[in-house]
Amino acid sequence: MNLRLLHRRLAVLMALAGLIAFAGGAGFEPVSAVLAAVALLTALFWHPDRILSVRLERVWLPLAAVLVVRAAIHVLVIRDDVVIPVVDLLLLLMGAEALRSLDAPNDVRLYALSFALLLASTAYRPGILFLLAFVAYVVLSTLALMVGHLRRKAERHAVREIPLGRNLLLTTGGLAGVILLVAAVVFVTFPRVSRGWAGRGETMATSIAGFSDEVSIGEHGSRIYGNPQIVLRVEFPQGPPDDLLDLHWRGRSYDHFDGTRWTRSRGLPPSSGPTRWYRERWPGPWIEQKIFAAPLDVRVLFGIHPIVGIEPQNGVQPLLDNAGDFVYWGSGAPAYTAYSRAGPPAPDSLRAAEGGYAPPFRYFLQLPDHLDLRIPALADSLTAGLTNDYDKAAAVQRYLRGFRYTLELPATAREATLPWFLFERRAGHCEYFSTAMVVLLRAAGVEARNVNGFLGGEWSEFGNYLAVTQNQAHSWVEVWFPGFGWVTFDPTPGGAAGGEHLESWFWPGRILFDAIQHRWNKWVLDYNVESQVGIFRSWSGLLRPRQQSGVEDRKGRRGPEATVWGGALLALMLLGGLWWVRRGGRGAPPATRLYLRLRETCERAGVRVSPGLTPLALVERLKERHAGAARSAERVVDLYLRARFGGRELGESELREMNAALGATRRMLKARA
């Protein structure tokens, strides 16, 4: 392959890598991306001659003008996002440049266009595909820039051919590894001074069956089908708690029920328990949760109840609303650290709770109009004789846990009501259970509200985090206790957490891919000054003697150390490689090394090779055993003697010949053995 063709192909492959990187971030706009991909793939194998190239330019120019006008209209008239029209224009120009004759000196334009595409893709929050495309782009651009440079120099000095051996290309490709290493080092160590990049064009996920901004029990007719999309990835820096499947990832609370649907009252006065109560009166240990959430259609920050503090990590702005729920400002997928208390106060403490601040009763004792009279009666019967709210709540919860959990929806609208659930069907999904408990408690005079979020999750061994999926969406109850605030009760019987997806054949692969994606998000997209400080701290910690902490290392605590040791090993390998390259003449000359290998080969084949055996005597001795092997060995010895005693260095071609002769000797001796 001549230099021109090789260079053009490499430049076109660079452009393809840029296209894939952009697709990894912004997704494909089918028409332009497919056309560009077709043009680039065509350019790999076909190039027009000069005349056709000039004719094609007459086609490209009007098309480019149209796209320029389109971009201008987007900016000036529609006032819309201009990125996609500009990228369309880039793709057209890239296709046009790729489909020019090989004589056209347009390599720099191809580099610039593909780089512009790569640059544009960074404006989004691309997935792991970007990383693959980026690595390919660096490797290809290393090769393309070098081949292009040699091509230009050869043309300028009228050199017909520059020998580009496979070794040279492989070495240059290997240098791309050094470039990537430098990129990684700069990425990790460059001081981060600004807040995280939220990314543009982030599309909000649509909930199929999962978390939404309302809780409704009116649906009927079929079955709820799960959506195994991962919505939360939770890391526990202090190690995961033991009851992972029982963790309630609280999202939103609802105070108003109209008989079928829960909503949030407008103008709700502050109804959250004071943070001081949660800090001081809840006895459990602190749980630190580093949460990486997917974008949902509701801007809610999830965490274990009660959340007493949130630290944003990627530019989102958390906000505590009047109901005590955390919402946020800022686009993109939020990443934050939530601090919560593990476990509720002891039952006896809750039984004794009385007096003090309470939220407005009218919001949390509200009942729907025309409430079926059997419901207050049931509430009275369940709580008869009980004197405190805790016992009442526990009694109702215990009663409802005797029901059956099912994802089958009621067949008709009549069967989708609360009374039907309580008195006829006695089966349903979590929203029926939580709704029933809140209504029964309110009917018994206990302040309660409905809450939704997610329950449990799946522990990823590969990623050391808890993966929470859409179909683990859940609904439960919070009951007010003076002096303690809102306390969680969950009346839904076991089996509520959607776990069907765990048994599907693709789930292990899915969770593995998700772990990779999570690491990409965490260590690349959301890498920030805290991550940097953490890494440097772990590095400096390695240099200090380890102290006996008495705390057993738990899952997920060995990451930074492994990184440091891996980095040290890599640096050692690089230094070794450098030493090997530089060692050169100081070690044995290449011809001597090859001769010594010949002696080893003969020895292994059973030829007696004494230390004082001269090279020519070795050949004579070999002739006695294998004439063919001796012939090729003679060539090795001949070249060795020339180099050793002839006073001249062997050239590359002679060394190659010597190597080939040694290989032939080895093969023949092995075949004989």
Binding site: L145, H149, K153, I162, V182, V186, F190, G315, V581, L655
Partner: protein, 345 residues
Amino acid sequence: MTRLLASILRAARATREAWRRLRAWRRISFTPGGLAFTIGTFAVGFAALNTGNNLLYLLLGAMLGFITVSGWLSEQAIRGLVVERRFPRAVTVGQELRITYRVRNAKPKLPSLAVELVEHGLPGRAFLAHVAPGETTTTRSLNSFVRRGIYPLRTLTLATSFPFGLFLKERDVELSGEVVVWPRTDRPVQMPLPPAGSAPHAGAPPRGGAGYRGEYRSLRPYRPGDDPRDIHWRSSARLREPVMREYERDGACTRWICLDLRGEPSEGAEVAVEVAAALAARAAAEGHTFALAAGLAFVPPDDGPGQLERVLDVLARVDFEPDAPASVPPVEEEACILVQAGSAG
């Protein structure tokens, strides 16, 4: 105060010398593409700092990686090269001087690619496409000169923008030598008639005939251009260097070319030098004995191509000055062909 000034001057000289050595060691400059790339790197870094977009940091790192690898590879391309230079001792104005370089790559593992060899002060460039490790290759550059003179060749620059064409890295190699550029000898001239009484002796043998070289006088070391027939083999073998026989010449047959160097350097002066060179060339071509007197410089009578080279060597070096001494040939003035700046042509 004086001591302080002296110290400052010494420090300045030392700094200048250190800078000169540093520049001779390596020089780096931007190519246009490299300048754009570097500005782009700064721009990406600036955008990364301002937006906090981590992928821009990744791009920035890759661009810095390209710069690092470029610096390392270009260093490997020009280091470990052992250069020998070969070229003719002299060349005539307007003719091409072919300088041949024999380059050995003394590096054990790495080849050198796309290296240019540039002589300081000469426009021609030699190009090394590829030298494998441990191998030797040759390349050459072509140069031509428009003025006579002595051109010292001292510094050879090895330059490369390998591997990406972003930066030009140069390394100087000190290789002493000089090129003598002779004046043109093809200017048409008419040989003046010999003056009365200077005709060759009657019966003198023609060139090539027996006794043409005259009577044997002595032995002398070899000079470039000497006729190999005059080598005295026995003495050469004993002394292990060529030794030549020297003969008495017939002074009456000698054409004395007298170049008057008094005057300002000018185009006319150069024409005079070229006329003198053309006269010498013609005399050599016709087999005459000829000699040159130019100011204090003096080439004794001789013939053949060696004599022409000696004359041209002197003519390459002569300088015109208003107060230069007049040429004083050891013959009568009428026996000289006087060449003056004003009368040349």
